[in-house]
Symmetry: C2
Subunit: 557 residues, 2 copies
Amino acid sequence: MTDYFQKHVDLLDKALDACAQRYSWSAWPENPSSKIHGEEKPAAGKAAFESRLQADFPLDQPGTTGHLGAEVSPYTRKPLGVRYPATDVPALYDAIRKAQPAWAQASPQERVGVCLEILQRCGDNLFENAHATMHTSGQSYVMAFAGSGANALDRGLEALAYAHKAMADVPGEARWQRQFGRDGVADLHKQYRLMPRGVGVVICCATFPLWNAYPALCASLATGNPVVLKPHPSAILPVALVVRTCREVLADAGFDPNLVSLVADERDAPATMALLEQPETAIVDFTGSPAFGTWLENNLPGRLVYTETAGCNSVILESTDDLTATARAIAQSLCQASAQMCTSVQNIHVPADGVRVGGERVGVDAVSRALVEAVDFWLADPRRAATLCGTLFDDSVQATVDRYREKAAADATILRDSAAYSHEEFPGARTATPLIIAADPAHREWYRQEVFGPVSFVIANGSRADCLADATGNARECGAITSHVYTTDDGFMQQAIDAYHAAGASVACNLTGMPINFAAAYSDYHVTGLNPAGNACLADLAFVAQRFRIVQSKVMA
Amino acid sequence: MTDYFQKHVDLLDKALDACAQRYSWSAWPENPSSKIHGEEKPAAGKAAFESRLQADFPLDQPGTTGHLGAEVSPYTRKPLGVRYPATDVPALYDAIRKAQPAWAQASPQERVGVCLEILQRCGDNLFENAHATMHTSGQSYVMAFAGSGANALDRGLEALAYAHKAMADVPGEARWQRQFGRDGVADLHKQYRLMPRGVGVVICCATFPLWNAYPALCASLATGNPVVLKPHPSAILPVALVVRTCREVLADAGFDPNLVSLVADERDAPATMALLEQPETAIVDFTGSPAFGTWLENNLPGRLVYTETAGCNSVILESTDDLTATARAIAQSLCQASAQMCTSVQNIHVPADGVRVGGERVGVDAVSRALVEAVDFWLADPRRAATLCGTLFDDSVQATVDRYREKAAADATILRDSAAYSHEEFPGARTATPLIIAADPAHREWYRQEVFGPVSFVIANGSRADCLADATGNARECGAITSHVYTTDDGFMQQAIDAYHAAGASVACNLTGMPINFAAAYSDYHVTGLNPAGNACLADLAFVAQRFRIVQSKVMA
């Protein structure tokens, strides 16, 4: 039997160091270029994906009662035809119950080793995963390879490093000797054992199915808990591939593969409640809508619930030395993944009397024009547009865009209209460029919620202080995962940082020349847990420390 | 301004090392003897306590609307007459709100330093605290000095060490540099800031008011949260003394004393709900009844709730080489603090065909006699009886004893009756020796719950396997804080350890010659959180890691 912990210990050590120092590092390649990987691997990944289509997905799970699956590619608009096990949840849990004791009994190192091997094998399958992600979540190929590949795996490794650290904090044994009174001498041999909580259910989202799945999987599995992955009905395949890999690694390591399982569903027959009804379900990791996330947070007493939902991410554009660069940075966020990312910017706050650019004040209209031009800059080349925007994962996103276009036409001003861009490779792809609406505080009920998809608002607040009050108030009350400030005024920057922090939000200042949506594993604590956009952080000790408990024995020598 | 962190850094380092190695260590004296402390300190402590009686307790808190307090000494049976502030909770919270920002802004080291100074000053006040604890909780002087002194302070320092460790895991800043694509170069200066959750409310119990108060106080306060202590109405004074010390230290350190406050109440007008109704209350630490603990766990969604309640602690007496020593170890637990400790033994399981002692099998009746004799051994000397048993903190405990005596007289056998023992120093003290009832599984509804006070059961189960099944089933379903096994059979010992662990309970094997109730800070993880006797552990990373969150700023260079 391979000692997977020893095999990957350098990788783990590097991750631990990166978490401690929080520098830039990735354990996997972000670039799918054949210059790096050769021709064969990308082609093999594509072929592997294609071989999955119109077929039963090979996953031999207990409790299988039939097949289901209704994924439709946002690129081809055709059903993928992949058929996953339909699961009788109680029967599956019977099997999980049998798998549990040996896993709980395994040493933390053994379990961490298995998780490291899982991540590594998933890392060997990035090309197939990229195609699977494209044709479910609708991401572009490059984003699907990087964001749902290396970036997601890194978050998994990060969570695993924290789980390892938290478990390693508990020694295996101790000797304890002392005198009691005149006569009593105690000499105790103590052993400490880590105990899992129960089954961890991981509810994945449609647009970035693995970004939270890897961390939740690693955090729960490494600490001894079997894991059931419940993908979004639109994006099952990327999750199924991971589950398949997990089951292979577990079997190779001599464990019961039922320690990781898939419960897929379709929209009209969701499986989540059946999983929550199982008393063994002790941990729930959720990524998805604020409404269901809040419900989970409030209605599962005695269980651990980790949520990442959404908010209304803001930019305060107060001043800049380079309006073009700033506008492009913001515009890139409006375009990237068609603003279906949890880090996408939505609300751009601008003082009503304009933005200071160098020595001059540039009015709101001109700033808005600069933003629109910056969006058009990103979209000018159809290939770049496709790489940047990808597609809308579902018709409902287009419906949201249409709804806001109508509202804006009636009660506001459309600064930039949304339209499909033409996709070279997939002419039928469901695409939409950013809709940008000129708003002011009269429209606050429009922008004080997540508008999921490529809809954004340029909001003219009174003063920069009003911008800050509006943006941070919204972060506090409606949630925020990312917040941005552009300013050349150090005093205002500090004021903004303090105000966002007081609102329970993190903040980035003057980011240009890079994709501002980027949240770096090992460096950016993702989601503060202090505002309505989620209660958990990827990743910190709080994300892992509760997933196991400690029992001990003490024996008198 | 004194740098309290530097002043006490050696103490903290020692505590961190003790937690990591889990050896025996205490930072404070357990022995009140004047041979160690001289004559003056004990006398001064007693005088200080006496000066508190029949007087307003000096605590200048906002929101004070009058005075209250109805403590009665279990020794003298007389009201203490100490009058504490009656608090208008919203007005107090207004003041707390003002105190909060500067404390959140202080560095983790500064806050840890203040907590270390608080513990040290409380450690300088152990004699006054001992008298205060005696005359409220009813503990004996020795127990009040050690168990509510050093042992409790150690638990506080332990929790503080974990809080420090969890906070130190987050670096203050980082530099993050990477290339994006061909042109983009990002160079970010990141700063990470720890944010408190809100107000921590600490609900203390009657019999060991500080044992959980110090850990909860330190864990919440060090991580930036103001703390409100809500003592049991029978045992306010020990808590009030701590609050007074906290407020002094905070003021000396330049912080607002309202960061720690007392909300005392009387039985007929409890203040807890008013504290829970405050939206700022983000953390609740509770020690007390399983019923209210469970209610708190289930009804405060979105808040952190840490409970230590109670269970039906068991002993399995399977075999021993020394029945007298074993019986004395168990009997000491039945006597100690009149079995009002969370670690007191209640259910003594014995195989129906007897206990193997050396080569022989000793029948249940003879084992029961040995236990009764052992209790009588401990109680033979009135001074030792007083030191060991202390008093019943409240009439309700005597009522419980009486109720079980009646039940047993009707439907079981009384092995040893309870009676008052006579207390030399306080002839009117409310005392009771152990009531021991012969039971069998027909009485399981009697013993499958905490019977609070000196009531225990010798339970004749069928076989040793039946003993184990009964005891571990009760631990799983009804809770257990301590569990004991006495056996000379290594195989059975391992089986018992595994069975208790599987039930979510810790277990001690063959402890004799020491007080088996003793739970050692820095070494014994107290409460597993896996059975109904509580959801939190003193102390581990899970006890502290959620009490703060992380926000960050990143600024492009």
